[in-house]
Amino acid sequence: MKKLRGLLGTCAWLWMAVASAQVKDMPGGPRVNQLNLHPGVTVISHDIMWLNWMIMIICTVIFIGVFGTMIYSIIMHRKSRGAVPSKFHEHTGIEITWTVIPFLIIIGMALPATKTVVAMKDTSSPDLTVKVTGYQWKWGYDYLDGPASGVHFLSNLKTPQAQIDGKAPKDNFYLLEVDKPLVVPVNKKVRIIVTADDVIHSWSVPDFGVKQDAIPGFLRDTWFRAQKTGTYRGQCSELCGKNHAFMPIVVKVVSDADYTKWATAQKQALLASAEDPNKKWSKEDLIAHGKQVFTTNCVACHQANGKGIPGTFPALDGDAKYVLAPMKGQILTVLNGHPGTAMPAWRSQLNDTQIAAVITYTRNAWGNAGKGKDPVVQPSDVKALR
């Protein structure tokens, strides 16, 4: 047994040496073998850190007191030392004492915690409001006011699948990087309104001391005021289905000037990308565009090979019910989702061109090419059914 333990121990240290050699601390994310809470960049996160230290110290003192007594007793009051058992088995005074003293300690802990709870719930008079929507499995951000008012985008995991599957080395920001982070100005009170589109998610950034469940059909809010510029990272913190581990949150805190510059650029980009839904597209362009849309939005369930996951997510390759049938059924399914399944309604996330493109792609990809009816779907077809 001893040999086995030695072997296991050696393995453990070897693994640790290999692992730590490759990984470095992640700025705004976890440090390697981090032992305590994130240091944080908001007053609330500092308060939480303080509360945690306070309660840890109190608990440690009690722990040492109680177990010091117990260990003393174990050493001194053992039969092998010839200890003779005493007869006492109650003492009202001492029993009242060790009920009242913990009560007082608890009041002492509750007071500072109450102050923080009240501060955390105070979402009044924000400088900026952003609506956050949880989707399976990505986040959507809508700027409701300020210079970026009207800007909206989706934020997807950027870590390549090859790194997850172990076919490429994992970089330092593994699982905690996104294509488009949320950008907010420094030292401004940002109110976050949180909701979800399908199941419950949770928007969490440890450095801000923020974690708010995103509940479909309801709005909840929270807030933060970041005191330092930088990039801060968190993860979805409520089980939301198979890709729960793959929908990180990244927030870039920038100076006021940079924020205004970013907001202007975003608005211009939004105008430029606004597409005319009546434009006729060529089949090749639709397929190329649709492949991108499919890779970002659909691949998690229906898989890159269109085969889905039997029993859980249906195959699109060779699907006679929707994909190879006349276009109407498929357009309506994509727009409105399929109630009772994981298929969401895409009408609020994708525009007519994107939906037309992705449907055209599925009708021409894999073994579907040349098989079904309506191989090409134009944006105007989608607009007509929306």
Partner: protein
């Protein structure tokens, strides 16, 4: 009673009637004897412990390294969900009922449980529920993967595996309710003459309170999963905002069951520890009546704290404060229990056989779990730590090191009474130390992971978390393998190897179970003993 004259037949006279010991499979399938049913409960729950344990090791295998190596996330989520359900409803709860079946009649001087046939039914429901849960892995889409909490609306997306889980919960819940009724009626009506409630052994007291908790909350769980079922199949919208429902309603109803459930799984453990410590300290339990009051206080408070599982859902500030204060209050009666155990040991004359080692180990690690519970009670800290590995560490410290360690302690303590043989003390001690050390290797690093922000129920994690996950996985396998030792020690005693046990092998000063021979005969206390 005294006015009615009954011919008193001494139990030693062999009178042939229906109470004869049956043989073969009929003895078990038609069992009405509390000892046989207790044995079946314990064997069943140990099997489920192994099944849930294998799932846990599969989880830890995938988490050994960042990246997806062995199990795709959808399968991984099935493992975590079913690990929780199987351990709670298949292993821990039935095991406590098994101990209750064996020991409560022996401790109160009753000849059997009050409702012997219902007892049989409540046991035989268990394999049905367990089969449903196990088979659900092989239905299209696999087992349910929405966590053991089965939060809506995620659980509404699941395949038929979810319906299997819902029916399993119904069946296991019905079994628990019947078990609870049986225990309440037995304790309240069948105590030996002279045994007043305040003279009852602590194990019976804690089980009496637990049984009331079960009666109060198992129907609530049944209601919550029934609403899931009708939302899934019959067009209701309890948890769908589009139809006027609310996903958070599910959480309120579920945790109204879920929090008392935590105490259902720990109160009988408190009782066991309160039985073991006085015997090995050779001193009466300190503060018996305050122990009883503490158990009752914990039970009542447990109904008032459920929403501390939901601080991150965004409750009004008054609700957050109320549930934070109520949760912190629970630490007072729990603290009283720990203080009383230490005071029982103080100036005793202790020896350290395996039951005592597990009892001391229990107090030590359970208290760590209690402290992290207090940390989580502070709503602001909870919001930072909820749904991270810190919570996973916390509840394994109270459920494994709490409930399971207490049951190991009790199993070694009563094993001579069950088997008639002393177990192998040396192997028992090995089992304790291996279990104790590997448990901490497996679960202590999870505190750090949670503090650093690693969410729970994830199939993959940022590479910065690698080292602690690897230590944890090694500890988990070590812990799992150590339990084979326990199985060997128990089987060895039951196979008749080992020193013959006397009626009272530990020299306990009180306890009716120690007045009957070891192994306990098939029928005991056919005439109630007199307790003074």
């Amino acid at each position: 009673m005294s006015s009615v004259t009954i011919d008193h037949v001494p139990p030693s006279v062999g009178h042939d009637h229906a109470h004869e010991k049956p043989y073969g499979w009929r003895r078990w399938l038609f069992a009405t004897n509390h000892k046989d049913i207790g044995t079946m409960y314990l064997i069943f729950s140990f099997c489920m412990l192994l099944e849930g344990g294998v799932l846990a090791l599969l989880i830890r295998t995938e988490l050994f390294e960042p990246g997806i190596q062995f199990f795709q996330p959808e399968l991984f989520n099935q493992f975590t969900s079913m690990h929780g359900l199987i351990m709670i409803f298949g292993a821990i709860m039935p095991a406590f009922v098994g101990f209750a079946n064996w020991m409560i009649p022996l401790q109160i001087g009753a000849s059997d449980m009050a409702f012997a046939r219902m007892n049989n039914f409540s046991f035989w429901l268990l394999p049905v529920g367990a089969t449903l849960m196990t088979v659900s892995f092989f239905v299209p889409g696999g087992a349910q993967a929405a966590g053991w909490t089965m939060y809506a609306p995620l659980s509404l997306q699941m395949g038929p595996g979810m319906d299997f889980a819902i029916f399993a919960v119904h069946i296991l819940g019905a079994s628990s309710i019947m078990g609870a009724i049986n225990i309440i009626v037995t304790i309240l009506n069948l105590r030996a003459p002279g045994m007043t409630l305040m003279k009852m052994p602590m194990f019976c007291w804690t089980w009496l309170v637990t049984a009331y908790l079960l009666l109060a909350v198992m129907p609530v769980l049944a209601a919550s999963v029934t609403m899931l079922l009708t939302d899934r199949h019959f067009g209701t919208t309890f948890f769908n905002a589009a139809g006027g429902g609310d996903p958070v309603l599910y959480q309120h109803v579920f945790w109204f069951f879920g929090h008392p459930e935590v105490y259902i799984m720990i109160l009988p453990a408190f009782g066991m520890i309160s039985e073991v410590i006085p015997v090995f300290a050779r001193k009466k339990l300190f503060g018996y009546s305050s122990m009883v009051y503490a158990v009752c206080a914990i039970a009542i408070l447990s109904f008032l704290v459920w929403a501390h599982h939901m601080f991150a859902t965004g409750m009004p500030v008054t609700a957050q404060l109320f549930f934070m204060y109520a949760t912190m209050l629970i630490s007072i009666p729990t603290g009283v229990k720990v203080f009383n155990w230490v005071a029982t040991m103080w100036r005793g004359s202790m020896t350290f056989e395996t039951p005592m080692l597990f009892a001391i180990g229990f107090i030590f690690v359970f208290t760590i779990g209690g402290f992290t519970g207090l940390v989580l009670a502070l709503a602001p800290v909870d919001i930072q730590l909820t749904d991270t590995f810190y919570v996973v560490a916390h509840f394994h410290y109270v459920l494994v090191a709490g409930s399971l360690f207490a049951m190991f302690s009790a199993a070694y303590y009563w094993l001579p009474k069950w088997s008639g043989r002393m177990y192998d003390e040396k192997l028992g001690k090995w089992h304790f130390w291996m279990t104790m050390i590997s448990f901490n290797v497996a679960f202590f690093p999870m505190h750090f992971l949670g503090l650093a922000g690693m969410p729970r129920r994830v199939a993959d994690y940022p590479a910065q978390f690698t080292d602690f996950n690897q230590i944890s996985t090694i500890g988990a396998f070590w812990f799992g393998l150590s339990q084979i030792l326990f199985m060997y020690v128990v089987l060895k005693a039951f196979s008749g190897r080992g020193e013959k046990a006397s009626a009272n092998p530990w020299g306990a000063e009180q306890g009716l179970e120690w007045t009957v021979p070891s192994p306990a005969p098939f029928h005991t206390f056919t005439t109630p003993p007199e307790v003074n």
